[in-house]
């Protein structure tokens, strides 16, 4: 279905008992999703940078009298003249163009008090829809700290709609907001900016024609007409039926004859109105100096100190991941071995006990042990997002991104990809230019997602056994993350020079203000991640571990006296591993690593579970040492160790650069509407990973390392 096409809207709420539709709209990073979460009790992703929400999200809440409300959270927009796909979603919901979404009954426009003038522009445009509105004024405390004196009642009078100051994260102002929403179900629309008379006449004439169109919502015909008259781009004209184009052209010609600039006069009229209101209701306090945000920015976005701080923060994050997580990881590992011991004694000897102890407990436990590290990673990401620092990191990294031809808006998808490539790829919808968007989709999975963390940690533990400092381990981890970032930049540059030549876009990134992070929000986000991780361990990873155990156990060897290692070598997994060994042998990997690499196409962290199962089967579940020790003890037929430092590094580099994620392939297919790009992506990333891993091993050997 085309979101931009005019389609028949669903009928408005038919009765007083039917749920009303309330839409939360506003500029990017004004706090819409935080407000949406506070009103609905949901946990939609929020962040202190623009572009976090890229599609509409729906939730239910109650009004002041307990009436049911369908609340819709929209992607942030600066105006209804949309350019990107996410902005088009917001416009189409507001104009009632989507058949699966009821047209709004009330709009809650979230207005950031620190950027009043810019935010009020959207209010002025939404007012033209003729719907009752409530303004939720956010960041009032920050506006006052920055030296502004706000007169909220005057703002409400100027707009003729309720203006409610809210601090959604602390649930302040929510009761008043619900009351205002309920009142506005029967309220008047707000005042509109005065539009030059010839423009208004032309818009009313066009609205009359549009209102007769069966596919368009007649309630919004005037707003549609104003949008269409001042539209300069093709996508913005998508709401206009073809046969009405001559009428639009005629209106424009008439306006030009009357000396009206149909592009900018309507915009100027709205801005003049907004400036007059903003100047009246928000005045700078006498003696207010430069905001502390600006003073901090001078350091944190400095050409040299900005990088020093960035690298320092990243190093500290990885050091904490290693050092602090050690203790809870030890608890989980001890719990796992106690459970293995208990089950080993409780269950009668046989294949089923081997499956439970050597397959399920070893495989799932081997992955679960990394939960503390993943939670600490998300704790840090949450803190950095909420404080507003990540947008500064974007600013200093953008200097590099511009050189390689990546669009400035690629930063948010790249940032999301540190958590998981899927939301990263989804958030490329904010990028208007299709070439820029495709380049970002192609390189986003090179960023180190959290599923790689267990693999990195395991290989670093093998690389640096006990006795090495956590700083050293954090250094290697940081190097892997940087390798992913620079590989993404390098490939983006290459694609820009070859497949996607074209104009480079400039970054227009809004610097969010620094904020004190909310511990409640950060902990809630960590809890959400923990639930997702545990669900995954109990489903996908459990299923794959059982399958890997079966493949590593059957067929049973003909010789009843065969050792577990011999039995493993003749199993299905052993045969598969030996078959692919010629491909991976140049990288220094043995067939067991090959089985791990293949199984981790389902999900990267499955590599750890697979290796746990393989070594558990090989050593017999009763004698199985810790996975790291088993890997360190692993030898080639000649007696040389398998996991030399170079092989560990080579495997780390392979996992940084390889695609190894079926879910990402599926989502890239969905987002690009073709199999060509996901297949190309798998091919180039696998080739890149293989080539880089090969170079690490052989250049290292050539330099004299083992």
């Amino acid at each position: 279905m085309s979101l931009s096409s005019p389609t028949a809207p669903a009928p408005p709420a038919a009765s007083a008992t039917a749920a009303r539709t309330v839409v939360v709209a506003g500029n990017p990073n004004s706090g819409k999703s935080t407000l949406f979460n506070a009103l609905t009790g949901l946990r939609q992703k929020v962040g202190n940078y623009p572009g976090v929400t890229v599609e509409k999200k729906t939730g239910q809440c109650r009004g002041a009298h307990g009436e049911a409300i369908n609340l819709i959270d929209l992607p942030g927009v600066y105006s209804l003249q949309t350019r990107s796909l996410d902005e088009a979603v917001a416009r189409d919901v507001l104009l009632g163009r989507l058949p699966d979404t009821s047209p709004p009954d009330v709009i809650v426009c979230v207005v950031d008090a620190t950027n009043l003038e810019r935010n009020l522009y959207l209010v002025a445009q939404l007012a033209e829809l003729g719907l009752p509105m409530v303004v939720a004024l956010t960041m009032v405390d920050m506006a006052e700290k920055s030296g502004l004196v706000l007169r909220v009642p005057e703002l409400a009078a100027a707009l003729r709609c309720p203006v409610i100051p809210v601090v959604a994260a602390q649930r302040r102002g929510l009761v008043e907001l619900r009351q205002a929403i309920t009142r506005q179900f029967h309220g008047l629309p707000p005042l509109c900016a005065p539009i030059p008379a010839p423009l208004e006449t032309a818009a009313r004439q066009l609205a009359g024609l549009l209102a007769r169109e069966p596919g368009l919502n007649f309630r919004f015909a005037y707003a549609e007409a104003l949008l269409l008259i001042s539209a300069t781009t093709g996508p913005a004209l998508a709401g206009l039926p073809k046969h009405l184009r001559p009428a639009l052209e005629a209106s424009r010609r008439q306006l030009e004859a009357a000396g009206i600039d149909w592009i900018s006069d309507v915009i100027n009229a709205r801005y003049a109105w907004v400036q007059e209101i903003a100047g009246r209701v928000a005045t700078p306090r006498a003696g207010a100096g430069a905001a502390y945000s600006e003073r901090l920015d001078a350091w944190l976005t400095h050409k040299i100190w900005g990088w020093v701080f960035f690298m320092g923060v990243m190093t500290l994050m990885f050091f904490t991941i290693f050092k602090v997580a050690e203790v809870p990881m030890g608890w989980i590992a001890n719990g796992q071995s106690a459970l293995s011991g208990w089950l080993g004694n409780a269950l009668p000897a046989g294949g089923f006990r081997d499956l439970v102890v050597g397959g399920i407990v070893a495989g799932v436990g081997g992955v679960l042990v990394f939960l503390p590290q993943i939670l600490i990673l998300f704790f840090f990401i949450g803190l950095l997002e909420d404080t507003g620092y990540l947008a500064r990191a974007a600013f200093i990294i953008d200097r590099l991104m511009q050189r390689v031809g990546l669009h400035g808006k690629s930063f948010v998808p790249m940032l999301n990809s540190f958590a998981c490539a899927i939301p990263g790829i989804m958030s490329t919808r904010t990028i208007e230019n299709p070439k820029d968007r495709l380049v970002t989709i192609l390189v986003a999975p090179l960023m180190s997602c959290s599923a790689r963390l267990p693999v990195y940690t395991l290989m670093i533990a093998v690389l640096f056994p006990l006795g090495f400092s956590s700083w050293k381990k954090a250094g290697v981890m940081l190097a892997m993350y940087l390798l992913g970032i620079f590989a993404a930049f390098g490939m983006a540059w290459l694609f820009r020079q070859t497949l996607f030549k074209g104009e480079h876009s400039l970054l227009l990134l809004e610097m969010p203000p620094y904020r004190r992070p909310s511990l409640r929000v950060t902990l809630a986000r960590m809890w959400e991640r923990a639930v997702i991780f545990l669900q995954r361990a109990g489903t996908v990873i459990l299923a794959i571990t059982i399958i890997i155990w079966a493949l590593s156990t059957y067929p049973r060897p003909a010789d009843p006296h065969a050792t577990p290692a011999q039995a493993l070598a003749t199993s299905f997994a052993g045969r598969l591993g030996h078959t692919i060994e010629p491909v991976i042998a140049p990288l220094g990997y043995d067939w067991k690593i090959g089985v791990g690499v293949i199984s981790s196409f389902a999900a990267r962290e499955v590599f750890v579970g697979t290796m746990s199962v393989i070594y558990s089967v090989q050593d017999g579940e009763k004698n199985a040492p810790a996975l790291r020790d088993a890997m360190l003890a692993e030898q080639r037929p000649g007696g040389a160790p398998v996991y030399t430092p170079l092989v560990c590094l080579s495997l780390l580099v392979f996992y940084v650069l390889a695609m190894q994620c079926l879910s990402t392939v599926v989502v890239v297919r969905r987002e690009t509407n073709t199999w060509r790009w996901p297949l190309f992506q798998v091919a180039y990333m696998t080739a890149l990973a293989w080539g880089a891993a090969f170079l690490v091993l052989h250049v290292g050997r050539w330099l004299g390392y083992a």
């Binding site: 085309s2 998508a238 089923f352 919808r429 959400e528 489903t539 399958i547 990267r604 079926l662 879910s663």
Partner: protein, 54 residues
């Protein structure tokens, strides 16, 4: 344990795992997403917006 019962338990568990995996893959394919990495907050089932082909 009775070898027959032992084999039966192993067979049932492995079959259930394979069945679940196939069902999960089919469901993900038909829904077009979800069940991603540990950092994925999930995504909606809506198809990506496409511009109108005029």
């Amino acid at each position: 344990m009775n070898p027959l019962l032992d084999n039966l338990l192993v067979f049932a568990t492995v079959t259930a795992a394979v069945g679940w995996f196939v069902w999960h893959a089919w469901r993900r394919k038909s829904k077009g997403g979800g069940g991603c990495g540990p950092g994925c907050g999930g995504c909606s089932d809506d198809p990506p917006p496409t511009r109108r082909q005029d």
